[in-house]
């Protein structure tokens, strides 16, 4: 490994540490610790909001495994990846102003605060808290392993050393800086993700002798590589379309994304965030996956999908530039784990500990507990990543779709439908989650669509029917909706 490749990565890490310490000043001086630590004091402007949404959403799969799949299956996978475009505008437009106004009225700091005030139900709170802690914990471990493997393969260090370095970097700035550090580092990380994608795409097109040439080579090898159906007609229109639920509109139901929709300062910021975020997501998703398939003609015969992006970067770019581009997947992984860590920690501290166990905690006690819980969660994740237990690997498979099936309707209907009540919410959450686990486990791709499709639809039906059936039992419909 070239030092000139590692140097940009080291500079990147130093800047991130700096941001952590700088944010810590705000955490120390803020007179409303919880709102500052877990929501950055609701001060984000448009650029920051766009970047933190995009960077939290874009993860190891956008930069490492996604391009690998495109490399093997062709343009059909780029088509599928673009089902993610709505993640850029849809979440902010739907949650949008309503969520911002309502959560301010209710003084909600976490997503669960909102659900608690909206449904007045401990069952809803506990179901939410348990889903968040279990699923996000599992996805955190998965991302963490991805981060350590990436460092391992770039530097030649052992997995354990790589894991340790990655852990120290992420934990320090998140624990001391809180949400503000997470959002600010996301802005840097998101920018690196966009710039890295553009540089590598240009590099790969040049190395492949231009687009005409690359397409010609692909058709010569196997014309199915340039069809929307993929090699061997692997992707049916129904299957590819169902990803619009999983990675497009369903993203509203991811708690780590939804909480960002309550953290911005004003509506003007939100408007520009919608535009910037959509352009950013379009660039990354289109660019990285196109790089994957173009790379097939530039460096043929890469066996392991996950090696495609790093191998191409080292193969077509000069060392220092390669270092900058390789910071992109690093940034994508960090910006996802830091959001998940904050989310799990805020659930444990604010939604469980302060609400059920110690409601009269002093400000100083809250501070100490928040730092401590964030640190402990982080350390446990690292220990699990050393040798991930099977249950974690299993849970991670359900994390993304499971969270969507649980949260999408309680959030959306809770915001827009007065008759939505706790019985409906509980029914929807239980039906969504249990169906998702059963379908994924026993009937994957039933009727040729992704396994998240029917659970999300059934959860909606259950929620609406039960709410209608029970709405006379609820005496006071919420005034704030």
């Amino acid at each position: 490994m070239h030092w000139s490749v590692i140097a940009p990565l080291i500079v990147f890490v130093i800047i991130i540490f700096g941001i952590g310490f700088w944010s810590n000043k705000f955490v120390k001086s803020s007179d409303s610790f919880l709102s500052e630590y877990f929501l950055g004091g609701r001060e984000m402007g448009g650029f920051l909001l766009a970047m933190t949404m995009m960077a939290t959403y874009g993860s190891a799969s956008s930069f490492i495994s996604g391009p690998g799949v495109a490399y093997n299956t062709g343009l059909g996978w780029v088509l599928l990846a673009l089902a993610q475009l709505p993640a850029g505008y849809f979440v902010l437009m739907i949650l949008g102003k309503k969520f911002a106004i309502v959560t301010r009225k209710l003084k909600s700091i976490t997503l669960i605060d909102f659900l608690r005030s909206r449904y007045n139900s401990n069952v809803v709170v506990w179901l939410s808290a348990i889903s968040i802690v279990i699923f996000l914990f599992a996805s955190m471990v998965a991302q963490w392993v991805g981060g350590a493997r990436l460092i391992e393969s770039l530097t030649g260090m052992s997995y354990t050393t790589a894991l340790f370095i990655f852990a120290v970097v992420v934990l320090v700035y998140v624990i001391i800086g809180g949400f503000r550090a997470v959002a600010l580092t996301d802005a840097l990380q998101g920018s690196i993700m966009v710039v890295g994608t553009i540089i590598l795409l240009v590099g790969v097109v040049i190395a492949g002798g231009g687009i005409d040439n690359i397409m010609g080579d692909l058709v010569k090898e196997n014309a199915e590589l340039v069809s929307p159906f993929g090699v061997g007609h692997a992707y049916s229109p129904a299957y590819v379309s169902s990803f619009w639920i999983l990675v497009g509109v369903g993203v509203i139901g991811l708690p780590q994304i939804a909480v960002r929709a309550m953290s911005y300062k004003n509506s003007r910021g939100m408007h520009s965030a919608i535009l910037i975020g959509t352009i950013g997501i379009a660039t990354i998703m289109f660019g990285m996956h196109l790089i994957g398939i173009f790379g097939r003609t530039v460096i043929p015969g890469i066996e392991l999908g996950d090696k495609v992006m790093p191998t191409l970067t080292m193969g077509v770019l000069p060392p220092v530039v390669a270092g900058i581009v390789l910071a992109a997947p690093m940034a994508a992984i960090m910006s996802t784990v830091n959001a998940l860590l904050m989310m799990v920690s805020s659930t444990i501290v604010k939604d469980i500990y302060l609400h059920y166990i110690k409601p009269d905690a002093s400000d100083d006690h809250v501070r100490k507990t928040s730092f401590l819980v964030t640190a402990v969660v982080g350390v446990v994740v690292v220990l699990m990543s050393l040798n991930p237990p099977e249950i974690i690997v299993w849970l991670n498979m359900f994390a993304f779709g499971g969270l969507e099936a649980v949260f999408i309707w309680p959030i959306v209907l809770g915001l827009y439908w007065k008759k939505a009540n706790k019985f409906g919410a509980i029914a929807g959450m239980v039906v969504g989650l249990s169906m998702y686990i059963v379908i994924t486990q026993y009937f994957p791709n039933v009727l040729g669509v992704h396994s998240v499709t029917f659970p999300v639809i059934s959860a909606l039906i259950a929620f609406v029917l039960v709410s209608f059936a029970t709405h006379r039992k609820i005496k006071d419909t919420p005034e704030f909706i």
């Binding site: 343009l75 780029v78 088509l79 673009l82 089902a83 475009l85 709505p86 505008y89 849809f90 437009m93 739907i94 949008g96 102003k97 309503k98 911002a100 106004i101 301010r104 009225k105 231009g210 687009i211 005409d212 690359i214 397409m215 058709v219 014309a223 199915e224 340039v226 069809s227 929307p228 159906f229 229109p237 379309s241 619009w244 497009g248 509109v249 004003n266 509506s267 003007r268 408007h271 919608i274 535009l275 959509t278 352009i279 379009a282 289109f286 827009y416 005034e479």
Partner: protein, 86 residues
């Protein structure tokens, strides 16, 4: 409840739904409308197969322009902090 801020918020949420439907229609229509034939006989636009160019490149660019227009002309600024009267 006659709340002006909520009226704006609801309208904009519906615009979001409409945009996703337009987005999906363009994406699906061009991809499978132009891409279902024999891949050996595709026509090409700027080096890309026509289905891919229109669905993934032009379609995405169109959505970005559309979002820009919608935000500029249809989205309204509201104050999040004020407690307005019903």
């Amino acid at each position: 409840m006659k709340n002006e801020r909520y009226r704006i918020a609801h309208r904009e949420a519906w615009i979001g739904v409409a945009l996703v439907i337009v987005n999906f229609a363009i994406w699906y229509g061009f991809a499978y409308g132009l891409g279902s034939g024999d891949p050996e006989k595709y026509t090409y636009v700027f080096g890309f197969p026509a289905w891919f160019f229109y669905s993934c490149i032009a379609g995405t660019a169109f959505m970005i322009v559309l979002i820009f227009i919608v935000i500029k002309f249809f989205f309204k600024d509201v104050d999040f902090e004020e407690e307005d009267e019903d």
